[in-house]
């Protein structure tokens, strides 16, 4: 159990960093919509249309690190299997 929690924590951190970097390593807050610029051919004006898109930010990274930290912390309080077996054998 201890090992599983630590593996999940490591995977969570690694997955969050890979996802964050793959999405453009946005150093701002998480975005759920992005501006798409369009140019009007007649007037030459640049308009903005908003498109729904999830772009993880530093808050996403922080939440993932916090989650991983919690899992790693919980793992410290989970007794290891080998120790338990040894106690049972002594009895």
């Amino acid at each position: 159990m201890k090992k599983i929690l630590r593996i999940i924590a490591t995977l969570l951190v690694a997955g969050a960093i890979i996802f964050w970097m793959a999405a453009g390593a946005n150093r701002g807050w998480t975005k759920t919509r992005v501006p798409i610029k369009t140019v009007d051919a007649v007037t030459g004006l640049e308009g903005v249309q908003w498109q729904d898109k999830f772009v993880p930010g530093v808050d996403f990274l922080g939440a993932a690190l916090l989650g991983a930290g919690l899992l790693a912390g919980i793992s410290l309080f989970v007794p290891s299997k080998s120790k338990k077996t040894r106690i049972e054998t002594n009895q």
């Binding site: 701002g28 807050w29 998480t30 975005k31 759920t32 919509r33 992005v34 501006p35 369009t38 009007d40 007649v42 007037t43 030459g44 004006l45 640049e46 308009g47 903005v48 249309q49 908003w50 772009v55 930010g57």
Partner: protein
């Protein structure tokens, strides 16, 4: 003699009609018209825009200095990429969009008017209203008059277009938007850009 007088009168009337100021409506059916805003604080940059532009401008191609009008931006149309930031911005703690549904600029006077071809540049003095606070500002603007171009933009319509571009800055503290507070995250200076086109159908 009567025919000559009639022709002269017709020419005169035509001249008056041609020189008459035109009213341009800035509610854009194509949704291109927008007002952008940018705040660059030491810890955070905020970039957004608003598409809810409306208003009318009276423009006379023969006398651009006499241009008058009012441009309105719906506060609720202000957009940011982060939904929580947008909720905060429109809340009663910042813009209070419910009580202040409009941001507007009403022109009073055009100065330093320079026209070259279809393009006029000028410094416009007018009243800028944000969060219920009105202040007089002088803003550099560029007007481009596009005669008979409405049909190119909106098929089945005939008329002229007037393109207005303006960039200027305001201080949020001047408009009672949390003056002197949170300036490390929300800059006091707001850079505004206006890119809009109005139509005058014939």
């Amino acid at each position: 003699m009567k025919t000559k007088l009639a022709i002269l009168a017709l020419i005169g009337v035509t001249g008056v009609v041609l020189a008459a100021p035109q009213t341009f409506d800035f509610k854009d059916p194509k949704g291109i018209n927008n007002a952008g805003f940018k705040l660059d604080a030491p810890l955070e940059a905020i970039n957004g825009n608003a598409s809810g532009v409306s208003g009318t401008v009276t423009f006379d191609p023969a006398n651009p200095g006499a241009t008058k009008g009012k441009i309105i931006v719906a506060t609720s149309s202000l957009m940011l990429p982060n939904p929580m930031q947008r909720t905060h911005m429109l809340s009663d703690k910042w813009l209070d969009a419910t009580k202040n549904p409009e941001i507007s600029f009403e022109s009073k006077e055009f100065k330093n008017v320079q026209t070259a071809g279809d393009t006029t540049t000028a410094d416009v003095t007018g009243t800028f209203t944000l969060k219920g606070v009105s202040k007089d500002l002088t803003v550099p603007v560029k007007l481009t008059y596009l005669k008979d171009k409405l049909g190119d933009r909106l098929p089945n319509q005939k008329g002229d277009l007037l393109v207005i571009r303006a960039s200027f800055s305001i201080k949020r503290g001047d408009f009672n938007i949390n003056p002197g507070q949170y300036e490390d995250k929300v800059a006091d200076t707001i850079e505004l850009t206006l890119s809009i086109a109005g139509a005058s159908p014939k």
